[in-house]
Amino acid sequence: MKSNEDSFETLFAAEYARVAGIANRVLADPHEAEDVAQEVFIDFNRLHSAAAPYAAAWLYRAAAHKALNRVRGRRRRERRELSQAADEGGRAMDPQHVFETSEDRRMVRQALARLAPKPATVLVLRASGLSYAEVAQALGVGIGQIGTLLRRAEAALRKEVTRGTSL
């Protein structure tokens, strides 16, 4: 039988990239996303057994919530985005494009953070590649509700992004 240490390592190896990906989906910042992912695993390890059947679902939901909370609480990341977008733009960087990329991401994240936690989490988890069943398990809802939740969340996000644009 595996020790809890071994189980935790197995869980970490299996889920870390996905958990970091979920956080990055919200934050659009790989470094900060890894911070969040590591905090989530640290919290999990303090509170739960790595062999718990709900481990992955717990990690996914915690990653989304923690990342959304960071967006709600912060503004200072905005400066960093400009340089990051510049990196992605490469040598043929167009300053206007850099600004637009960074500004779009900022608006999308802030719009996400303005949504209620459940729709925001549905969007983030689904966009991170989770199946309907996995999203349902993470949220503790029936799989039959996911389509409706997604539909409403997408309509709400579009509305929020549009509202942000007009401001």
């Binding site: 590591q38 640290i42 509170l47 718990a52 915690a62 609480g73 969007l123 983030v124 966009a127």
Partner: protein
């Protein structure tokens, strides 16, 4: 046949085969469903577009090493969230000790009937963790039994919390930055416990500890303290990370907790409350420092002593909602709390935010 639901149409966008045969037939013949699907698909595509990002590249070994080197959890006020296991024996012991602490400050006139204690303000009492632990030993001097067991429960809404508790559920104003607006509600109806002083038990406990029981006032044996706590409501803000019900007692202190409870009420029979207070304070388990601190409270019949573990927290008097309150901040800077009593209700706000933010939340409760 009825039109296809939004959820069904949304699922079709992700999986063409998700529709049943009859749904498929309906869809291919229904212009209305097709138009709704087109709008749903457009939203889904637009959202997928704005949420698309390059894949994150991670170094699992290095991340694991970082996680492994994280320090052990620090105590936050030395507590974990007390949800909610009514049958927990340690919890009952703590509640019994708390009931005795409340009883310790009962004072007043000689009486044959009842003496009422209903606090109207709060005072800090500095105690060490060892003092707090020793208080549980007071259960060796009597028996504590619930006549109406505490039945805390997690409820789904403020309205349900109000129904269960019969209290007005406080509404918060603006929340501090970073605090989630997700609220978990808990509520508890009134609970009643009786502490019965037992001279034989007390003598046995003292003898076991190699100590002599202080001389007992007449009428002390069998005297009773009836403690009524609650009803109470608690609002917990933030992600509770509730993985499973069986782990509900293993949650971290969340970002913010707002609580309200009717002031505890204590009645006593058998001896005067002053005698009982003095006698319990003279027991071997109560440190002289704690006893002196409790005695120094000016108006003990109307004051609720709040034990402040001196290793963990500091306290200061503040004005909250126009009354005297007590603000706590622990020495680690990880959290703060404020407690006050207004119109017969004890209020508390605590969280892992700055003390100024806690006070702001407290002053905006309505």
């Amino acid at each position: 046949m009825a039109h296809l639901s939004e959820g069904t149409l949304r699922r079709k966008f992700d999986d063409e085969d998700a529709l049943t045969a009859s749904d498929t037939r309906h869809f291919s013949a229904c212009a209305d469903c097709q138009a709704r699907y087109a709008a749903i698909a457009e939203d889904a595509r637009a959202v997928a577009g704005v949420l698309t990002l390059p894949d994150i590249k991670v170094d699992i070994a290095s991340a694991l090493s970082h996680v492994r080197s994280a320090p052990a959890a620090q105590p936050r006020f030395g507590i974990r969230l007390p949800i909610i296991r009514p049958a927990s024996r340690p919890a009952m012991g703590i509640v019994a000790a708390a009931a005795v602490i409340v009883a310790l400050v009962v004072t007043g006139v000689a009486q044959d009937a009842l003496v009422f204690f209903q606090p109207k303000t709060v005072e800090p009492v500095a105690v060490s963790v060892a003092d707090l632990q020793s208080l549980s030993g007071l259960s060796e001097y009597g028996t504590f039994a619930w006549t109406k067991e505490p039945a805390p429960q997690v409820v789904t809404s403020a309205a349900e919390a109000g129904t269960v508790s019969g209290l007005h559920v406080p509404v918060v104003g603006p929340l501090p930055n970073g605090v989630s607006s997700t609220i978990t509600y808990a509520a508890m109806p009134e609970a009643v416990g009786v502490f019965t002083f037992d001279a034989a038990k007390a003598a046995a406990a003292a003898a076991k500890a190699g100590k002599t029981l202080p001389t007992m006032p007449s009428g002390m044996d069998g005297s009773k303290l009836t403690v009524t706590v609650g009803p109470a409501v608690v609002e917990i803000f933030g992600n509770l990370n509730a993985g499973a019900a069986e782990n509900a007692t293993q949650l971290n202190l969340p970002q913010l907790i707002v609580g309200a409870s009717s002031s505890p009420v204590v009645t006593s029979t058998g001896v005067t409350a002053q005698e009982l207070e003095n006698y319990l304070l003279s027991q071997p388990g109560v440190s002289p420092k704690l006893a002196a601190a409790i005695r120094s409270i000016k108006d003990p019949s109307t004051t609720l002593p709040i034990p402040i573990p001196i290793e963990l927290a500091t306290s200061k008097n503040v004005q909250v909602q126009g009354v005297n309150g007590l603000a706590l901040g622990d020495n680690t800077g990880l959290g703060a709390a404020v407690i006050w009593i207004k119109s017969g209700t004890v209020y508390g706000v605590a969280g892992t935010v700055k003390q100024s933010e806690i006070l702001d939340v407290a002053n905006h409760l309505h």
